[in-house]
Symmetry: C2
Subunit: 239 residues, 2 copies
DNA sequence: GCAAGATTGGACTTGACAGTCCAACGAGTG
DNA sequence: CACTCGTTGGACTGTCAAGTCCAATCTTGC
């Protein structure tokens, strides 16, 4: 079970299935996508699914890997050619334009999968986390180039700026897809870029008060949870 | 069907079901949570579910409404008392602390639901969008107070800063839950706060080049999609 | 206390889903 | 050409899920 295609034909079949499954999962979510749906979308047969993926879980893993590779390939490529502010601006503009073209549907495939599957399956979470890591690396690479070109100050914390940028992407995409308004992403990205331009003043001397950064667990007010601790049977890990 | 509880007992039952369902849906996702799961978790009977919620979709809607109200109540309350940088810092610190306590599991209930359900059901999407809107209003209220206290310059674009802040929250939470590292949220929030402190220099005169902001659809490179347009059967709206 | 209506229990129906199985088919190799 | 093994079709099974139904029980207003 779960064998790697040995023939050209087999590889084509496997890929066809993964692509169709990726689309269905993106639209409906993993557990709302049945194998029969995938069969109907591809014209494949049950044996093919079980031959190439072992079981449904294997198919979902393949979908996750596929989406990570796809998004990452495109982002790495787009970011690799960023070496000044104009390039960065174009990169941002491209993302916004894509979201607009989709009517602000869907959002980031990785982000959507991460939100849904991170707490469901540890292996999937790891794959998705690695994808975000690779995405961060691509962003950091671009920032490094900007710094080398004298556009970002030497003292800037590139790691923090990278996280801030990726965070703006994901947050902006989520707000955009929820409100069906690509403008939210535009604003989030503008904010991130402004911060990059300002050199990432995370430690601003202006009038900052000493942070209670390590004063945890005493003054902490309840801001969420409410049902975090309750009697729960916890039966079935996934459907 | 789908009746509002008329008695105290009925209200208690309904609430008990919604809370348990909210937790299960938060852990496994809506379509991976069966009514039998909810029944097992609450000790309720099938008739009760159908009596109070009409069908599964109604239950999910109730869960969404409940989570929106819960998160929003807490956030609105926490943000209402923010009137200087220290307050804001504490607010951020509180969120990070909560995420840490949860081992960076779960993330924001609204964000998770939005990622999963926005493209599934228009009504749910609207509810979630309204929740984000209300959250934005709470943030804007805090920023307004900061501005009134002279901590944010009068010229600052509070709407943009609000979106940037909420975007950082959501993006940071997503990255945190995926990497199981609350530090991601901490960095994202620090970035947002730094931007607020710097007065939200979205339009920085430094050396900005004219933006190709409306040059869409010509130079646009393919940065995602790949299977956005394909033959798809599209059978069943939800499971 | 006593209807009237709200609430509850749980068996039952119907369909869909994941997963199994085996018999064919076909492509590559000697 | 023949053999092998990767590949494919599709019927079949057992389980589980959503939704229905009706009778029993409890609450509340009078």
């Amino acid at each position: 079970m779960s064998s790697i295609p040995a023939t050209k034909q087999g590889r084509a079949t496997r890929e066809r299935i993964v692509r169709a499954a990726a689309e269905l999962v993106g639209e409906r979510g993993a557990s709302a996508t049945s194998l029969d749906d995938v069969i109907a979308a591809t014209g494949a047969s049950k044996s093919q699914l079980y031959h190439y993926f072992g079981d449904k879980h294997g198919l979902v893993q393949a979908v996750v890997d596929y989406q990570c590779a796809t998004v990452l390939g495109l982002q790495a490529h787009a970011l690799a050619s960023v070496s000044d502010w104009d390039d960065l601006e174009r990169w941002a503009q491209t993302m916004v334009a894509i979201v607009e073209d989709q009517g602000a549907h869907g959002g980031c495939p990785i982000g959507t999968l991460a939100a849904a599957l991170s707490d469901t399956d540890e292996r999937l979470r790891t794959s998705l986390s690695e994808a975000f890591q690779a995405w961060s690396d691509a962003i950091r690479g671009a920032l490094l180039r900007l710094r080398d070109n004298g556009l970002i100050s030497t003292g800037a914390d590139l790691d923090a700026l990278t996280t801030i940028t990726l965070s703006a992407i994901q947050g902006g995409l989520l707000l955009s897809k929820t409100s069906r308004d690509a403008g939210q992403l535009r604003i989030a990205l503008d904010g991130a870029i402004a911060q990059l331009r300002s050199g990432g003043t995370v430690a601003d001397p202006t009038d900052r008060a000493p942070r209670p950064r390590a004063a945890r667990s005493s003054t902490r007010a309840p801001v969420r949870s409410a049902e975090t601790r309750a009697a729960r049977p916890r039966k079935k890990p996934r459907r």
